[in-house]
Symmetry: C2
Subunit: 359 residues, 2 copies
Amino acid sequence: MVNFTVGPVQSSEGVLAIGAEQVPYFRTSEFSELMLDNERLVKKFAHATEDSRVVFLTCSGSGGMEAAIMNTLTKDDKALVINGGSFGERFVELLTLHEIPFSEIKLEYGKALKQEHLAPFEGKGYTTFVYQKHETSTGVHFNAKLISEFCKRNDCFMIVDTISTFLADPFDMTDLDAGVMITGSQKALACPPGIAVMILAPSALERIEKAKCCCQYLDLKLALRNQDRGQTPWTPAVGVLRQINMRLKEIDAAGGDAAEIARTAHLAEYFRDKLKEYNLPFEIISESLSNAVTPLHPTTQSAHQLFLKIKDEYGMWICPNGGDMKDTVFRVGHIGYLQENDYDKLIDAFLDLRDKKFI
Amino acid sequence: MVNFTVGPVQSSEGVLAIGAEQVPYFRTSEFSELMLDNERLVKKFAHATEDSRVVFLTCSGSGGMEAAIMNTLTKDDKALVINGGSFGERFVELLTLHEIPFSEIKLEYGKALKQEHLAPFEGKGYTTFVYQKHETSTGVHFNAKLISEFCKRNDCFMIVDTISTFLADPFDMTDLDAGVMITGSQKALACPPGIAVMILAPSALERIEKAKCCCQYLDLKLALRNQDRGQTPWTPAVGVLRQINMRLKEIDAAGGDAAEIARTAHLAEYFRDKLKEYNLPFEIISESLSNAVTPLHPTTQSAHQLFLKIKDEYGMWICPNGGDMKDTVFRVGHIGYLQENDYDKLIDAFLDLRDKKFI
């Protein structure tokens, strides 16, 4: 099976080789060193400040999103959140559950964020901005620079979910002055799922110190205190953390985040060019694309039927959408261990399906 | 390295082979079937009632412990908790954090639970009993039958942490009339860490339906609704769940839970007999042993120094203790993919260290 979804994605040979090994005992100096090395490399690739910290939680990216809300916001905050798809909707749910006052910028699916969306909220006392840099469900890459400028003007603390964009699109945490960034092991980090990674700038560390977290398991104070010595409060997904280490070192050796982003951008461009070249019956639904994924509306067939057909008859996974978009949208990912010839196979399958009048 | 810790433990060849594979996309009927198969086999091996349910959370066992407290107890409960080591202490912390009224049965480390410990709490309106069937930190296997009888007499809902005892010691959820049982992927399930498994009896399902969980990520209502169709609300540790499936099928083929428990009991006995045979300077500190682990007090050397020595010079991990017990206790595990000759190697190392007057 070739995997074009946006997670779990395909891993390198080096990462898979670690998956085949016994998982070592972890309350050791050897594992601590690996964890501190992971912290160093994640900060390097995110261009975080030296005094930022990284924690690795054993949970999905959604667990990381909730940890950010629970540990850095209080009822005294006033948050602004972008809701442009199912992950924006999740932030709305989390702010509601944790009783953080907020306003929502509701964007039509596929639409980019513009200055005009932010204008009504200028100077209105917002303390926090919460958003996806890349709304994975619709493939819309929001303009983080625009948001950063809003935050700087309005003195807003920034929580940015970069789950599917970190290492796929440029990200400079220092330049954006983000307080919290969140990513997951199974996106462009291209490891098995199980670990959420969070970078915490000093502004976040200060908030965490003051907040009372309502969940011990996701308490970042405990995570930070343990990460001081390269450890975790609870038994972590040790295997995935070792795979992350291998992957970070592979990226470092290949030229760092810039090289990895360029590689991904090239694959995205290669695929998008082919779509045009063969005039396939798919419309790109996003006004602002990430390198991570191409979101497509098939004009002649149900997206879900196409997903099943490609899976069952061609041995490939394209990425289905859920909910309202189940029949109208599918996505083709460009993260993970993919090559040009994988896209050639996918394009051949689409062409075959067009010949057979399925699309 | 040979791994005698109590988690992560060694995995079978079949489980490791899956670790070497690409992690598949999971929003598919194929993955749903695997998850429902996991549910069926876990229930079978725990002797749960047909109308019990199983959820698989991507977190450590501690996350499962907290999910149990958050989703099935409220401020109207009155809980009784056994605190006989660091995991009992964790339940105390969780009950405190979540403001569940409770009383604590504090047992000296290593001591068994007796009827006299329960007597003062009879007929005092306790609604819930929370405990470790096996307190992993001290290797004390509590008498679950005694607790079950107390619960039946006092109409108590039972939350039992079987994290390190499930598949190592006999466990019959129906017979005990437990409401919630919790285990983890990295104990006797012998898979990499990352998944907490919970079995929920109808009494628990009823409580979950009524409770308001303060954490979306650990909300069992959401987990149950998704597990109805073999799915999870968030991207789970798909790789580990596939390994769990392999392992459950291996156990089933080898004779089920009874055969696996007998295999573990045999290894424990083999090791304990050798300790006696060679009169090694270690005292067993538990009054009531589990098959999962042998907890030892070395009488002639610091336990932590012994852990480091065995790791660095003999290529084996024994299991260190933390906190107060760091220098006084170490443990030798019997769960995971271990054989008699692994114990021969460990005994040889101990004998060598005695010859060298290290112990």
